[in-house]
Amino acid sequence: MNGPQDLGGMDGFGPVMPEPDEPVFHAQWEKRAFALTLAMGMPGGWNIDQSRFARENRSPAEYWTMSYYQIWFAALEAMLKERGLVADDEIAAGHALRPPKPVSRVLSPADVLKVLHRGGPTERETNTKPLFQPGDRVRAKIINPPTHTRLPRYVRGHLGVVDRVIGFHVFPDSNATGAGENPQWLYTVTFSGRELWGSEGDATTQVSVDAWEPYLEPAAPL
């Protein structure tokens, strides 16, 4: 979606302000919001792309004034409600008012490190061949899907060069809508700063994005 998360190249947000000796968490509730989100991944049954979509799928006015963990927490609530695991009146009451729905698994303390260590690899087996090779010129397609995508607006329509064939990976645009993993070839594509930002741009800047094959179309060689 052309939403508030797609920030690359926007103006007006002011300078980056690093915080000296920044703590990992800024409030007690941030810790809980973080851990609840990780722990509910398993029983909740959603995937990372669905979580990302739940975070970005809100009014920009709201997104830009919410803090990072407020966004995480709002997305967690939304996904829990969507799946009927928790209802508004229960959050308001601060207690379960109805029995739980059956869930696949609950994260036990004994499993925490194992689960973190395993992570969620996204590479998949294939016997297809990648359409592009390193050095190929490609154009990022102009697409405007109303749901989750990982092709930032600032590269759409622009010419880049394939830098590396990364592998065959889960395709977020499908995975986020529950349409399945639909894995695709994934590439690193590099754009010159001037291609993206115009001839006034800094000639020493290059920008690389990781782009799945459906995001790209062949372009004529130079």
Binding site: M17, L116, H117
Partner: protein, 207 residues
């Protein structure tokens, strides 16, 4: 300013959000969806155990061991796993080599992708709109916000983490560190130098 604003925002909202988070945790615990002990362990892990010291060890090893360095740039995920770091948000890591001609910088314009196993959780500025919006368009100006000025002819390559690949910048080894132990070298490697918004400390800084 934005940072302050965000920070401020957190605090004014604190009690309301805190209550809401606590309420949800209670509900989820009562329903048996989460185990509070597992939550505590998750927090403990990312607050105390996993952090940029992991990445610093990887970088220091690559500075002293050419074979390791070659393995790291060929396929970073197993090379980093050799030191025991792996897993969530680091399933597919790519190491980026800084040289006198090329400086690498990592951002996630779309959310906040970050190599957790080697750097821990991202700082607030990394997740903030100012960094996410400007790093791809004007990396030199962003570096200036961090007090870093690179030679005008150094190429800057910005890596936007748009997929599940996570990037670790391997900064250049500072001069004057010949014969240093890995451990001592690791103390020069700052978190920001592994994101590309900083440089390693100079040997003078850690005397």
């Amino acid at each position: 300013m934005t940072e302050l604003h965000e920070h401020h925002h957190d605090h004014s909202e604190l009690s309301e959000t805190q209550l809401r988070v606590r309420a949800l945790e209670t509900v989820l615990t009562e329903k048996g969806y989460v185990d509070p002990a597992a939550l505590d362990l998750l927090i403990e892990t990312y607050e105390k155990k996993v952090g940029p010291r992991n990445g610093a060890r990887v970088v220091a090893r690559s500075w002293v061991d050419p074979d390791y360095r070659a393995r790291l740039f060929k396929d970073a995920t197993p090379a980093i796993a050799e030191l025991g770091y792996a897993g969530r948000q680091g399933e597919h890591i790519v190491a980026l080599e800084n040289t006198p001609k090329l400086h690498n910088m990592v951002v996630c314009t779309l959310c906040s992708c970050y190599p957790w196993p080697v750097l821990g959780l991202p700082p607030v500025w990394y997740k903030s709109a100012p960094y996410r919006s400007r790093a791809v368009a004007d990396p030199r100006a962003v570096l200036k916000d961090f007090g870093v000025t690179l030679p005008p002819d150094t190429q800057i390559r910005v890596w936007d983490s748009t997929s599940e690949i996570r990037y670790l910048v391997v900064p250049m080894r500072p001069a004057g560190t010949e014969g240093w132990s890995e451990e001592r070298l690791a103390s020069l490697v700052t978190r920001d130098s592994m994101i590309g918004t900083g440089l390693p400390k100079s040997p003078r800084d850690v005397k």
